[in-house]
Every structure is written in C-alpha cells, then in structure tokens.
Amino acid sequence: MSFSFFKVSRPKTPQEVVKSIKESLMALDTKTVVEVKALEKALEEVEKNFVTMRTMLSGDGESEPNLDQVSQLVEEICKEDVLTLIIHQLPILGWEARKDLVHCWTILLKQKVDSNHCCVEYIEQHIELLDFLVVCYDNKEIALSTGLMLRECIKFPNLAKYILESASFVLFFKYVELPNFDVASDAFSTFKDLLTKHGNVVAEFLTAHYDEFFDQYETLLTSPNYVTRRQSIKLLSDFLLESPNAQIMKRYILEVRYLKVMMTLLTIFVANPNKPREVKIILGKNKGKLLELLHNLSPGKGSEDEQFEEEKEFIIGEIEKISLSGSF
C-alpha cells in the first residue's frame, strides 16, 4: 500500500486492462476454488479489474469515457476471448463483481467498432454462450444477473432468433414456473421479450413450430400458478395481435381446444366464490356482450364436447347471477 505512494500512477491502457481481467479470471481455476483464502483474493482481484473496466466504459462520474479507449477495449475483449471467460466464471463471482459486469455488459454489446457490433458478432460465433446464460436460470444466486445480460443479448434479432430455435428455448416453459417469484418473473420477462421484440423473427418461428409451441403454451395457460396464468394470457394476446403474426392468430382461433382453454380461464374467474369487486364490475359491465358471445358459441361437433357445453351453461348461469344478486 505504502509503495503506491511513490509510484506515479499511469492509467492503464485498454490492452493492459483486458490483460489483467483475463489473468484474474483465469486465476479462478479449480485449484484456487478449493482454497478459501486464495479464492477470496482472486475474487477481489477480479472485482478490482471490473471496476477499472467499468470506469473506462462509462466514466467515473466526473469525466466522460474516452471513446477511442472504449473502442480499443471492446476490440481487445473480443480478440482475447474474454467474453467466454467472463460467462463461464460468472457463477463463482461475487455480488459486486456481477453488478459491475452487468453494467458493462450493456455497454459492451451496444459498442460498435468500425460500424460492427463487435461483441454481438463474437457471441454469434460462440453461440453456445447464450445456452449457458439460459441455463443459469437454474442457479438462483446468479439468475437475476444473467437474466439481465440475456435480455441485453436478445435486443439483437439474430441472437433472439437463435434462442427461439435452440433446444434451450423449451426450458423457459419450466423457468417461468420456478417457485421463487423473483427468478420466475425474470424468466418470464425474458420469455416475453423473445416473443415480442422482433415481430418477423417471432412470426417465422411460430409458423415453423406452431404445434409444439402452442402445446407447450397451453401448459402455461392452465398452470396451477395464478401469476403464470395471468401473465401468459396477457402475453398471448400481446403477441397474437402483432401484425406479423396475423396468420398465426387466424390459425389459432380456428381451434376448438384453444377455445376450451380460454373458457376454462373464464370459468376460473367467474366461478370464484369470492370475486373481488373489480372483477364483478368488469363482468357486470360486459354481461350483455359476454352472454351474447356465449350463446352464439357452438363447437357443433363430436360427443367429447359435452363437457364444453356443460361448462358453457355453467358460465352463463354464473354470469347471469352476478347482475341478479346486484352484489356490487
């Protein structure tokens, strides 16, 4: 400590910053991890280097970042495979280091070098990094950090497209139902971005994977988890109504089984013996429309629709009761 007093501190060049980040991350090898003291020290080193990177990328509050340096830093990070290293070491990093990393990540991805998104291109060439980030939802210690990083990635259509079509995508149907609300709702927010941010990419994906996708989506709509049901129905109407999805929507609304899902959902609201006042008001206000719609519904085929008819009658009865009892 006391020696630094005599040194004239010369600010590090971007190349030097990247070099020390790389070295400090590599120092987190298996040997270090076993030894508590050594690990602590190595983690501190990473943390310190991330702060330096952060300052170089976004300034220190007093001075603005030097754009030339930023550019060099980004280039060097890609050249030295630091992104891969960062993502793989992420699960052992401390909270502060992860926080600085998330902050830098946003800037790194947006940064252009010679009019190219250098880091995005790097990720495209090392696309398994995205799969790695997705499965981090299984680790609730880091899930909120990796979730943020993932959402930054899928702002770029190519990266979103990759996830939609990868084997990892199906994992989201599991993650959005994780018991921990903060993680599950973060996963849902990423899931929502995937299905809404890039209309054409989504339309293409839904057309190609129509049956698998909607089969799985049905599990969300009928989930025992109230938040999942409410969020998934909202999201469904959001993306079905996007103009690039017009064909998908037309196909979806032709199918009786999906209508049944919707009816079940309506039943859940209508049959609730303790309907909150707001729900009653909305049902009451739309009573005429709802009843008309329900009376005109006829699936008109097959005996398996008996249950459908029964449910329909039940809902009609319940909705009629609402206004009769005048309970609000």
């Binding site: 909270w95 018991p179 609300f181 909150p276």
Partner: protein, 339 residues
C-alpha cells in the same frame, strides 16, 4: 454477503403464520415462524387481485428487495406465489414502525437522542440505496421499522424505482406515488424530474414527524397539503415547543427542507453533519423506547379495534376511500404500511 448464506424455502408449508402485524389496501403482514430454522420472520401477503400495479412493477420491486444487502434496509429472503397472493418473506422487526410506536406510546414524538439514532440509521440506509442507484420515494416514520434490540431498518419498496430505469414510474400510475405530506415540492409539480434529492426532503419531513408525533400539514386533506407544500415556506423546528431541541438538530432539518433541490445536501454530506456525529448507537437510545410496552400484535389489535368504525366505511367511492386510507394511515392502523 452475510445474509446470503441462509436459504429460505419457497414452500408455504414451511411457514407458520401467527399474528397479523400490519395491513394495507392490498397487503397484510404476519408475524410468522420459518419452521426449518425455528426463526421469526415477517410474511407480507400481497393480494394480486387487489393490486393495481402490473406484474412488471411487482417483479422489479421483488428483485430490488432480494438484491439488497445492508443492515439498515429490509430485504426479502424470498418470494413466491400462494394461490392468488404473493408471499414476500422478510426479517421480522418485532417493534413495528416508528409511526406505530408514536401512536401507541409517544403521541408527541420522541426525545432528541432517540430521533438522532433513528435518523442516522435511516440515513445509512438511504446512503446505500442511493449508491446503488435506487430512489426510495417513500421515506416516512411508517416505513422505519424497529427491532427489539434497537435495530433500525428502512422498509417498503412499494414505490421505489431504480434510477437506472428509463421508464418513469411516477407517471405510470394514476395517482401520486408516495404520501403527500412527505413529498418534495418538485415532486408535486408536473414536469420536473424526480431525483434522489426528493428523498432528502422526505427525510427532513420524517425528522419533524419524529419530533412532533405527526408530519407537518398532516391534519389537512391531500390536495391542501399539496398546495401548502408548494406555496408555503418550508416547515421547520421553529415553534415554542421546539425549544427543547438542539441547534444542530434544527440546522440539519433546515438543510433538508430547502425548496430548491439543488441546494439540498446529498446523503453523504448530511452524514457528516454534527447532529449525526454525536448520535448515540441505537441500542442505547432506541431500545429503551419500548421497554415497558406490550408485544406488537397486542398493540396492533388495540389500534385496530379503536378504528373498527373507520373500517366499516370500506365500501365507499374511491376518492373518499383514499381520504380515509390517508386518515387511517395517520392514525397508525397499519403498523407497517406496505402499499
């Protein structure tokens, strides 16, 4: 991360709910036991049907609360969905809020040494939040919680928003965020930005609240408070009854309650003020406040009964309901107002 080492399960059966210790329009707070550790916790049960905010807001709140790690800020251990409720598991603060304590036993406010400790701990919490980019937006005695050992924690992220967020949450709702008595003039005026200096104003109002037992203008309806905050000179410790307070306390309050937000000190600067330099540790000055009081739930129950008549008025148009919830708040019905 000290508290990160303990894991709390997302299984409702692991929690035994005991007494109700607070409630608001869409949430109830229970004193509970986390059975695996046999540890007291608070369970805030948020009614998702009654909750106006969308899930994005709730998600952000839950995430902020779970990422927080500071001894003066109430964090959430975990949160999960139970039927149509969201359960948020938090540390149990056995003495409830400062507001509640004043309503029960100190109707004219606390002594200066207790106030100094409470405010200093609150300021440490704000320092942490501001450093991490969060504006609290609802600093008031009702959100400062006390534990039996004298520990002080700032709670309620119902309206807090991250400064890193571009979306302006203040406008995403149809009513003002926060409680008018504690709101800075610039927050009440349309078109001006909301920055962390708004928390400093609320902090100053909270200081007056702790000194008098109520916030200035608290007997007026919200719209009137709004106008008075904008038009009148800033409130301060300058009544006759305030003579008992030290010069440094008065000076500190006056620094916070400057209408021009750019002239208000940062938390950092405020912490260096002589009033806080001499503040006692809370185990000395705060702990003694509840030495002879019955347990929290008994106090809550007593206040609830007293206000039973008010509660019968629940089925009223929303404007009146808002006014009542305001007065309910003042009466300290909700020990922890988490809405």
């Amino acid at each position: 991360m000290g508290s990160g080492s303990r894991n709390y399960s997302a299984n409702p059966n692991d929690y035994r709910l005991l007494e109700e210790v607070g409630y608001g329009a869409s949430a109830t707070v229970y004193h509970a036991i986390y059975i695996p550790y046999n540890e007291e916790v608070a369970v805030k049960s948020l009614d998702l049907d009654r909750c106006n905010s969308n899930f994005d807001d709730i998600r952000k709140e839950a995430q902020i609360m779970s990422l927080i790690d500071h001894r003066n800020v109430v964090k959430s251990y975990c949160s999960f969905v139970v039927d149509r409720k969201l359960w948020v598991i938090m540390p149990f603060m056995a003495q409830g809020s400062c507001l509640h304590l004043m309503k029960t036993a100190y109707p004219d406010g606390f002594e200066e040494d207790a106030i100094g400790s409470i405010l200093k701990e609150t300021l440490k919490a704000l320092d942490y939040l501001h450093q991490h980019g969060h504006i609290h937006r609802d600093v008031k005695a009702g959100n400062i919680l006390l534990d039996s050992n004298g520990e002080v924690k700032l709670s309620d992220f119902g309206v807090s928003a991250s400064m890193f967020d571009t979306g302006d949450r203040q406008r995403s709702r149809n009513t003002f965020v926060g409680t008018p008595c504690w709101m800075a003039p610039e927050v009440l005026q349309p078109g001006t930005g909301y920055n962390f200096k708004a928390d400093i104003w609320s902090f100053g109002i909270t200081a007056l609240e702790l000194a008098h037992g109520h916030a200035p203008f608290s007997k007026y309806p919200p719209m009137k408070v709004l106008l008075m905050t904008i038009q009148n000179a800033p409130p301060g410790l300058d009544y006759d009854r305030d003579r008992k307070f030290s010069k440094s306390f008065k000076e500190m309050v006056a620094m916070c309650l400057v209408k021009d937000q750019t002239k208000r000190p940062s938390v950092d600067k405020l912490l260096k003020h002589s009033f806080f330099k001499q503040a006692k540790p809370p185990e000395l000055s705060v702990k003694k406040l509840f030495a002879d009081l019955p347990p929290l739930w008994t106090r809550v129950k007593a206040l609830q009964l007293k206000d039973a008549a008010q509660l019968a008025l629940k089925r009223m148009p929303s404007a009146e309901q808002e006014a009542i919830s305001q007065s309910e708040y003042k009466r300290g019905v909700s020990a922890w107002n988490f809405d």
